[in-house]
Symmetry: C2
Subunit: 206 residues, 2 copies
Amino acid sequence: MSKMDLNTEQAILEAAKQVFIQKGMDGARMQEIADKAGINKSLLHYYYRSKNKLFEAVFKEAFFKFIPNIMDLMNSELPLFEKIRLFAINYIDIINENPLMPVFIMHELNRDPAKVAEMIKSTGINPSKIIIQINEEVAKGEINPIDPFHLIVNLISMCIFPFVAQPILQYVIFNENSEVYAAFIEQRKREVPEFIINSIKKDKRS
Amino acid sequence: MSKMDLNTEQAILEAAKQVFIQKGMDGARMQEIADKAGINKSLLHYYYRSKNKLFEAVFKEAFFKFIPNIMDLMNSELPLFEKIRLFAINYIDIINENPLMPVFIMHELNRDPAKVAEMIKSTGINPSKIIIQINEEVAKGEINPIDPFHLIVNLISMCIFPFVAQPILQYVIFNENSEVYAAFIEQRKREVPEFIINSIKKDKRS
DNA sequence: GTCTATATCGGGATAGAC
DNA sequence: GTCTATCCCGATATAGAC
């Protein structure tokens, strides 16, 4: 594989990423990807045999960038509150680089649910460490009693959902002003962790 | 329009709802809708002139069922904590009837962002009442200081996101057992409001 | 490796009989 | 209102020249 090959192949993948993520597998057109990559349609088939193969390449890369990774943080040795704060900051940053990613992944997983198992099996996703940590904090009386799963889902929901629902929220809350919405999201890096910590920290109820 | 017309028309809309919501506009096939409705493909065009028209009918109905309505509750005279509890219960119930709805709506709005304005303008969505209420509670010192928008987005996120991410969460948390996941969602009708109220209720800090 | 030309097919839409 | 038959375009994919 020569140097030029790599460039073209990369250009295709980059273009494919943009188009697939914006339009989805079914809505994407090979012609549009070729145009965006500045090459001919048939070259797409030269590098990736079919639309489906190309899509798989894009989807896998997207999935592995967004779903795991952050798990390293979750399974680290940091104190719980620290983890929660870092998670919000890091994850919101990652999604900010590609705000359409969450809807894309969710839509495609739902289109082809068999993918979920296939994808996750090949990653080391395993939340057991953080779950144990939460249970221990509860047992030690350091935080209020809470089911670790609900806590984790709450955290993830509050970080990701504002991107998923961006079109509506942006319109309803800020009359379509996307800069203000971006600032709103930025605030959430602090707001979300404090909201959570405030909810679970001891010393409140009696 | 005879009685039989109505039945067929309803059958088509019902079939279209299922197919469109599951596959999206681009992934849906008129043939599949016709099959599911037990009629001929060309009858679809007799009742609705085009695929797009049919889609619009489905989407509008879906949107208006899911987005507003609940606003009545938000703008009622109930106490804040009461509202939060009722919102979680009612909204989770509504989505439970059609768990794919959120991803569907989000995906389609993103495909055609112009829809957002068009849709929302024709509804009376206006969260001002609840926002004032939250600000008042803060001013009176009844709850901890919080930006009403973040509070509302937190509430909505925690209710809807578990449906959006169901495929992944169900797999990671419960090894694909959908009954257990349904129970998990059911718990959230209580867990989410208590989590929120615990976070904002006074008497904790200082 | 990259292009042009073309095969092939699926799917939305229409015509027209009943 | 409902069906069958058909049109026709757009999109993936392949063949083959350069």
